[in-house]
Amino acid sequence: MGNAPEAGDDPDAETDGGLRAYTVRLELVDEPGELLRTLAPIADNGGNLLSIHHERGNITPRGHIPVEVDLECPPDRFDDIVEGLRDAGVNVIQAGAEHYGEEINVVLIGHLVDTDLSNTLSRIEDEAEAVVLDLSLAAPEGTGDISSARARLAIDSGRSEEALAAINSIGTDKELTVVEPLLGGDA
């Protein structure tokens, strides 16, 4: 974790060369050929199928079968894919919940509580385009004193440096020390 996966090395690497991974949740009518018909708009619009999770035993409240499709495509093609699916009459429940290729840890140190930790975290999510997966806070001297927090973040593959730069500038704003992970080499 924390290292940029090397191309071709890591089966979990989600993006490469400008592609991004997306998850689409669909509802299919339980009829023969329906799945195949559904996948055509993805390929036709330049998407690459990564996996299909077809929950046959699980029926939605409307009596349909939920299907989860992971695919990758250039970001500017994704809207065309979703539109293509809808044009084909497929019920798209959720689109664009991205899979994140990398996890990194950062430790924040300072007056975390007085500087509104929850605002700090939402700024990290917005400005660093990260998802906070996990957070621990330690304030042994009480919340009015210096405290530390560790956040595990999910970010897109290959975007660690940008995300860390954004987190650092939030830290500067709020007078927090940001302890970054060492990403280079095989640290």
């Binding site: 924390g2 840890n105 950062v106 430790v107 140190i109 621990s136 330690a138 304030a139 042994p140 210096i146 405290s147 530390s148 927090a149 560790r150 595990r152 020390t177 302890v179 970054e180 992970p181 060492l182 280079g184 080499g185 095989d186 640290a187």
Partner: protein
Amino acid sequence: MKLAILGAGDVGRSVADLAGEYGHEVVALADSTTAAIDPDGIDVDQTLERKVGGEAVGPSDPDDIFDTEYDVLVEATPTTLGDAEPGFTHVSRALEADRHVVLANKGPVAERYEELRALEAEHAGSIRFEATVGGAIPVLSTIEDCTPQAVTAVRGVLNGTANFILTRMAAEGLDYEHVLAEAQDLGVAEADPTFDVDGTDAALKFVILANVLADGGFALEDATVDGIQNIPGSALDLAAEDGRTIRLIGEATRDGIRVEPRLVPENGPLAVTGTRNIVQIETRNAGSLHSSGRGAGGPETATAVLSDVGRLPPL
């Protein structure tokens, strides 16, 4: 080779002490006020005894060293910042007299690298400075062997005091001030530990590395430096929850120098413990090389000086 040693601290004294073992002769040893000089070789034991006993090193003036017959000037005076004096003048006088120079003093190499290389190019002698980076660890000679052009980055832990403090904080769950006091009692940290804990000492070493990689262009003010004084014990506890720890990590590339507390895997190569140092040399064609060892200490650093002396061509 005939060695003239300037500086009679731990490193200078150890070089004098070990020189014979490496097949070299000491013709002069000076501290800032006096010098022992003998063209046929000084009596090292007696000279060191006088120095340790608080007496004058010898009857001569330190300046007379430059008029002695020597092959290599060993510059082991304390590191100074800014103009790196008087170390820089010592080096230039020796080069202008067509002698070799081996530095243990980081100042001139970190702050005035291009001037040193220009002087070296104009005169017959060479400069070497293995001892300035990582004590006994062969960092610069490894880069030289890989050729600097094929090295893309150098990272690592190059300050034993800061590393000792972070290691103890993580192991005992103690705060910085407490561990610093302990380190001072043990003699690991100096009475004034500022340069070690604020990252300056490590930064000077990574500035030297960046200068070697890029053939000059860097001084201390070009480095981004942050120390360990603001790291509470709780931050190390939190890092450990995810198998990480915090180390004062330096990075040197052709683009710049950065020294900061960073999260590294607890069981990874860079998480050395105690006063141990480590460097990771990232190469274009051979992956990463790691070298770990004692980054400070008189005899340890003296071995780097004497290895340099052994690599010098005959004049």
